[in-house]
């Protein structure tokens, strides 16, 4: 069942140009078609400025699309309070996304009161259950955000999003600002919550390692377009777009002996004010040919879709081999066990 369906969605930002001449138009999203199913995690990856956050904000109702349709549960998406009940968002910076003048308890109960989701007498109990759902002790409810650590704040933001029992939570780089160990905790927490509540996640990220771990499907964006989309396993095992390959090649595995496919991109992301003709990636693509400069590559309609003229002619992909020596594996296992133990202790204290 599809929960969210975007068709041919585009977003233009009008920038102030000079006083004379036409205003500059920045095309942040170009013809996005995307589906999120109930209870799944879709990861949206790409470099900074590729439009992934803009897409997340449009889905959460914080921006308006310039053109295209958005459907939730088969019906045209609602706006305002009705949308807020269905779709919530968790922001990147846990230090800026919580109102500093409100206590944690007030922050989490605010949406419950606003949407009238529980009788007043039941609110303290609801607060406690939300806090425990995100792994926080009830006393935290009386604290102010500035008294909490980054990971704790992100848990609070998550509890606030969960308070309305949404069907989809947009995680806009929700773990990127955290320490690596805390990132893993929050990612695990997201998976646990998904298992408990069946909420779908739109997981926006610029790093691939976590995405591989937590998402069911991946969509790769470049300069406002989705260039490849498919089940996580397939995309990582046999990426069909040169850009996806470059992204995977740029991921560092925390294994000293791992060999990874070498592919370096040269040049910069072109300005979205003047995107290249045809395929926008062609200026940095090692496989580019004449047709790439003239026509936009179409999306093929397969479950593992790609928008690339050359996808069938790419050389075979050699995935990262994860075969460290046995002794190192044993050491790693010990270390991970210790880290996991510490992580649970941290959460409890």
């Amino acid at each position: 069942m599809s929960l969210l369906h975007l068709t041919h969605l585009s977003k233009d930002f009008r920038l102030k140009g000079s006083a004379f001449g036409k205003p500059l138009v920045l095309r942040a999203l170009d013809d996005i078609t995307l589906t999120i199913h109930k209870g799944e995690t879709l990861a949206l990856v790409g470099e900074s400025g590729c439009g992934k956050s803009t897409l997340g904000w449009i889905v959460a109702g914080l921006h308006k699309a310039t053109s295209g349709q958005m459907q939730v549960n088969g019906q045209t998406a609602q706006t305002g309070k009705a949308r807020a009940r269905q779709i919530q968002i968790v922001f990147q910076d846990p230090f800026g996304s919580l109102n500093p003048t409100m206590t944690v308890g007030a922050l989490i109960t605010e949406p419950i009161l606003l949407h009238d989701l529980a009788p007043r007498a039941a609110i303290p109990a609801r607060l406690d259950s939300l806090l425990s759902l995100v792994g926080l002790r009830p006393e935290i409810g009386r604290r102010y955000p500035h008294e909490l650590s980054g990971g704790q704040r992100q848990r609070v933001a998550l509890a606030r999003a969960l308070a309305v029992e949404p069907e989809l939570i947009v995680c806009d780089e929700a773990v990127s600002a955290l320490d690596v160990s805390v990132q893993a905790q929050i990612a695990n927490l997201l998976q646990e919550i998904q298992a408990k509540t069946g909420v779908a996640l739109l997981f926006i990220s610029h790093g691939l390692s976590l995405v591989r771990h937590i998402s069911h499907r991946v969509a790769v964006m470049y300069l406002g377009r989705i260039v490849e989309e498919g089940p996580t396993e397939q995309v990582f095992a046999s990426p069909r777009h040169p850009y996806t390959r470059a992204l995977i090649a740029a991921t560092l595995e925390p294994l000293p002996a791992a060999s990874r496919p070498r592919m370096k991109l040269t040049g910069e992301v072109p300005s979205p004010l003047a995107p290249p003709s045809g395929c926008t990636f062609r200026t940095r693509c090692p496989q580019a040919q004449a047709i790439c400069a003239t026509d936009k590559p179409p999306h093929d309609a397969k479950p593992h879709a790609v928008a690339c003229w050359r996808s069938d002619d790419l050389p075979a992909f050699v995935p990262t081999t994860l075969t460290p020596p046995a002794r190192m594996l044993a050491a790693l296992q010990l270390y991970r066990a210790a880290a996991a133990r510490r992580a649970t202790e941290d959460t409890l204290t």
Partner: protein
């Protein structure tokens, strides 16, 4: 987002901060004393501020009149207390009116970006009038009286407060928590009060305290120029003006009134400065 730009996370209670700044404590004490004396004037003095006694006119301090008498033989201390009452009232009402209007304009300009241009140009127009000229023309149009005085004082402190509010609100608007409030579906009025105002108010409060001093000064100036409340109403600016004619034979009349104005305005400025310093320290 750099730390220097973020506003104080949680406002502390001010008194302990002020106690650490002796000048501010002094100013606050002086202001409280003047305000209380003005409010309880009828209890503090047995004289009537309007009953004339021409035989006792222009007497120096002493002889049962602590600060002497004015040109109509009225007790100066009583006149000053009642005068402070009027002047403080005009200053309070004017500043409150200006802060309410200016604060709303500033917050709305920052919150509704489309209104920004219109609202701030409006404020700029008001800002371009010297406040004395503004008061003069308002008094000329509406006729001298309490209403036009309060309106003139309010409108002349309003533009500054509007600009400060807009600036403070703009820096709060860049924070994610505004969007997070929007994302849970909060209506605009809640965002404006509990999210925007609750986080942007410290600089606005500081500036308003400073504006208080200006407001008092403007009220007294208009009174001095004869555009305030008409005699025999006791008003500090008016008392200073009355005494001007007898400056060489009875300097105490103008001097006492002027000193009281000076003390009030100075106290407000010291207090405002202290509030600003306290704000800076919190931001660090």
């Amino acid at each position: 987002m750099s730390d220097t730009l973020t506003l104080p996370r949680r406002p502390r209670r001010l008194p302990p901060r002020l106690r650490r700044n002796p000048m501010a404590a002094l100013a606050l004490g002086l202001l409280l004393a003047i305000a209380l004396a003005a409010i309880f004037a009828p209890l503090l003095t047995s004289f009537d501020p309007y009953e004339t006694a021409l035989r006792q006119r222009l007497q120096g301090p002493g002889n049962g009149h602590l600060l002497g008498t004015d040109s109509q033989g009225r007790d100066m201390l009583t006149r000053l207390l009642y005068g402070a009452r009027t002047t403080l009232m005009i200053g309070c009402a004017g500043t409150a009116f200006g802060a309410l209007l200016g604060g709303s304009i500033g917050l709305c300009a920052a919150f509704y970006r489309k209104l920004d241009g219109v609202l701030m140009r409006l404020v700029d127009v008001l800002l371009s009038f010297p406040s004395i000229l503004f008061g003069l023309s308002l008094a000329a149009i509406l006729g001298p009286g309490l209403d036009s005085l309060i309106l003139a004082v309010g409108l002349s402190v309003m533009p500054g407060i509007a600009r400060i509010s807009r600036g403070a609100a703009l820096s709060v608007m860049t924070q994610d928590y505004i969007e997070s409030g929007r994302a849970i579906g909060l209506p605009d009025h809640r965002l404006l009060t509990r999210y925007l105002l609750a986080n942007a108010y410290p600089p606005i409060l500081t500036y308003t305290t400073l504006a208080f001093g200006d407001a008092i000064l403007l009220a007294a100036t208009l009174g001095f120029l004869g555009l305030g409340l008409q005699p025999p109403t006791a008003e500090l600016g008016g008392i200073a003006a009355e005494g001007r004619a007898f400056l060489f034979i009875a300097p105490h009349v103008s001097t006492a009134a002027s000193l009281l104005i000076f003390a009030i305005v100075l106290s407000f400025n010291l207090l405002g400065d202290a509030l600003r310093d306290a704000g800076d320290r919190r931001a660090q």
